[in-house]
Every structure is written in C-alpha cells, then in structure tokens.
C-alpha cells in the first residue's frame, strides 16, 4: 500500500517531532485506521526508549575538565605570548634573510629576550620534518642511561636526559638535528598521541636567566627557556599548558646537569 509506505518513511520524523503539523495530522489519521503502521510506530518508540534509558551518557572525567579549564584561563603574567601569522611564517621559512628582522612584529619581543626571531620558526620546521617516517629518533630507547651516552662523540656537549614517564611524558629516544646550521641535541618525548621534540644546545647567553618564551607558529607551540647554560626549546602540537608542565619537570630535576666538553 502506497500510503503505508509513505507513512513508514515519515515515522522517524514523526517520532522525533520533526514533522510539520499538517503532515503529522495526516499521519495520525492513517495510524488511527491502520493497525500495522500503529504497531510499527510503537516498535520505533520502544527502541528509542531503550536507547535513551540504557545507552550510557559519558561525562567528562575530572582531569579533562581541569585541563580544559586551564586552557581557557588567561596566560600567567610576565609571559609574552607571540603568535606568528601565516605570512610571517612563510617569509621566514623561505629564507627571508633579506627581510629585515625588525620589520616582523615578534622580533622586538624575542630579541629583547635574547632570542633570534627565526629560531622558533626553524624549530617548528625541524619538528615537522621529524614526524616523517624514520626521521624521529636515531637512538630509540625509553632508558635515559641509553640515550644520554649516545650523544657522546656526536656532539661536543652532553644534554641532560630525564625519565618523566611517571609524569605522563614518555621518553622515546633522541637524535641529532641541525637548526640554523648548528648541531643540536633532540630528546623526543611522547604524551598520549603527541610527539614533543625538545631541542637542546649550549647557550651561555647573558648572566640573567631568560624568561620562558612561548611562541605559536601556525598552530604548533614552541616553548623556549634557558637553564644551566643550555637553551631548551620544546616543540609540539601539544597544548601550551602541558608543554609548560614539561618545562617545569625538566627544570625541576636537574639530576644530570649538562656540562660542556
């Protein structure tokens, strides 16, 4: 029966209150006289009722709620947040050595901090390159006693390597990378699905410790700081508050203070 067919097609919309009143009236009129269709509606209702009653509604776990709330909180005072616009990124990546650095918005901020403006951009570039297959680590190990000595003979400094697994940052390995024509140590950590590259190189710099700088390069986060005569940059798509957490933990336990050779 054509009418039953049409009614069946509209049953869901009727059940969900999405049928306009004239069509709903038509349908109800049919249901009053057609036992099969009325039963079909009833069956639909039962299924819907079961789903709504039994299927679990999962609420956000407390830890997630906390992290989300932290994300929204305003930035801590005394920290400069620098965001590079795509055009600035493009200019810097295409070897814009010809572009006077002072013309970039972020330059005064970073240079005032003793940071070359091109560095975070180059590091995000290196980070992205490292995500290609087989490029991430040259020594793959979760054991810092394996990773740390691996750098000997490859670099003229020994980076501090820490095991932060308990804090939710798994050491995955290390490699040597080249940034701005300089060989740097890279420690690779992982949190959930996020890869974090921690670039380390010696930087005596000014006597005063550099305040941490965080830079957003087209959605990737780069957090830089100086400690123990080393410059550190953590680069990831992980959220900035979590990178900050990593920084605090790395700075906290200076068990293996790096020594220049």
């Amino acid at each position: 029966m054509r009418e039953c067919e049409r009614v069946r097609e509209r049953l869901d919309a009727y059940l969900d209150g999405e049928l306009d009143s004239s069509r709903a009236a038509e349908l109800e009129a049919h249901l009053a006289t057609c036992r099969d269709c009325a039963a079909a509606l009833d069956a639909h209702r039962k299924l819907q009722g079961a789903i709504r009653a039994l299927a679990p509604y999962h609420v956000a776990p407390a830890a997630l709620r906390q992290r989300a709330s932290d994300l929204v909180k305003p930035r801590p005072a005394g920290r400069r947040r620098v965001t590079l616009a795509v055009w600035q990124l493009a200019m810097l990546l295409t070897g814009a050595a010809a572009v006077p650095v002072a013309s970039l918005m972020l330059a005064p901020v970073l240079i005032g901090q003793g940071v070359d403006a091109a560095v975070p951009v180059a590091l995000v570039d290196a980070h992205l390159r490292s995500l290609r297959p087989d490029r991430l680590v040259e020594v793959a190990s979760t054991d810092r006693h394996t990773v740390k000595p691996w750098f000997a003979g490859k670099l003229d400094f020994s980076p501090p390597v820490q095991d932060l697994a308990e804090a939710g940052f798994k050491l995955t390995g290390g490699r040597v990378d080249y940034v701005e024509n300089r060989a740097v140590a890279v420690l690779v950590y992982q949190r959930r699905q996020h890869i974090i590259n921690v670039f380390i190189w010696p930087d005596a710099g000014s006597a005063a410790r550099m305040k941490p700088v965080d830079v957003d390069v087209n959605g990737y986060h780069a957090l830089g700081w100086r400690a123990g005569e080393m410059a550190f940059w953590a680069v990831s798509d992980l959220s900035m508050p979590e990178l900050e957490e990593l920084r605090v933990r790395l700075e906290g336990t200076q068990a293996n203070r790096a020594m220049p050779r």
Binding site: E18, A39, H58, D237, S239
Partner: protein
C-alpha cells in the same frame, strides 16, 4: 550541502573577554563533547585527547563565533578533530564512503522492527552499547546526536555537515540496523 556561514571560523586575538565568553558559552558543553568523542572513538583515552584538542582549536576560532548556542559548533569541531586524527594515524577503520543506498531495501531490516519481533526483547545497557558501537560511524554519530544529545535534525545536519534529508535517511537506517543487530544477538 550545509554551509558553515554561521561559523566564520576566523582566528582572532584571544583577549580576556573572549576567554570569559568562551567559558560561559562553550565549556558548559564539555560533557557533550566528551560523550560524542567517546562514542566516535570508542576509547576513553582517545576521546580525552580529541576533546582537549578540540577545545584548543575552538578557543582559537571562538572570536569569530556568533550566536548563543555553541553546542553544535563545539561538536562539529570535535567531529573534525576526530576525523583528522583518524587520517593522521591511518586507522584501518578510516571512514570509507559508505553508500547509503547499500543499506536501502533490506527486508531483513524491516522485519527487525516488526512489533511481534520486539515483544520479548530484553535489552541491557551493555548489549545495547556494544550494538551501537558496532554501527558504522556515519550511522552511529547521527544516532548519538539524536538520542543522547537530543539534537534537532537541523542541529545534527550542522554538526555532521550533511543535508537534513540525509539526516533523516541515516537516522532511519541507523535505527533499523540497530534493531536488526539486537535481534541477531537475541537469535543466538
């Protein structure tokens, strides 16, 4: 194809005012975001990751958000985050282009919703959950948005980025597939 004209998605400065408005309009939908992510990923850890990333993205684009109902907007970001994550990991269950028509005329499906077949049904939460989780993603997501989030067809269309007509047909098939799956379990 539903347009996203209501959601310009422009990045803007994240001022304290933007953060405040975000906290007021968007964060209350965190549970909805997690629930949706959980049913999509079927894994509590991946769901957390998806939600966290979605909230980060949402904050970035919030300056361009207009309106007072951020729930469909947030859930569409959750959905896109999930889809992108699947692509990145090259998950085996990558969303293929399911042919809606392939699920069209199946008398077995229709019979499953017949009243007599439903009479002796005893369902429990676990069986139902597994049956919903086993649904192909494009049907599962519509069902969750309708039955668990109580969204209108229009809202569902916006989140899933499909026309309202497709919402209706997918919902119909989702229900029939589910009834059929539950019936098949009963038969054992």
């Amino acid at each position: 194809m539903t347009s996203n004209q209501e959601w310009p998605g422009q990045r803007g400065a994240i001022t304290p005012e933007v953060r405040q408005r975000f906290e007021l309009l968007v964060l209350p939908h965190l549970d909805a975001a997690y629930n949706f992510a959980r049913w999509l990923t079927r894994d509590p850890h991946r769901a957390e990751d998806v939600v966290q990333e979605a909230v980060t993205r949402a904050l970035r684009f919030f300056a361009g958000f207009r309106g007072d109902n951020a729930r469909p907007w947030l859930l569409s970001i959750v959905r896109n985050t999930h889809v992108n994550a699947l692509k990145a990991v090259q998950h085996e269950e990558l969303r293929a282009d399911f042919d809606d028509e392939a699920f069209a005329a199946d008398p077995g499906l229709d019979r499953a919703l017949e009243p007599s077949a439903m009479l002796e049904r005893k369902w429990d939460a676990e069986r139902l959950t597994r049956a919903i989780e086993a649904l192909p993603e494009q049907f599962r997501e519509i069902l969750v948005l309708r039955e668990l989030e109580d969204m209108s067809y229009k809202e569902i269309a916006a989140v899933a980025e499909i026309p309202i007509g497709t919402v209706m047909s997918r919902l119909n098939r989702a229900r029939r597939l589910l009834a059929h799956a539950l019936g098949a379990q009963e038969a054992r």
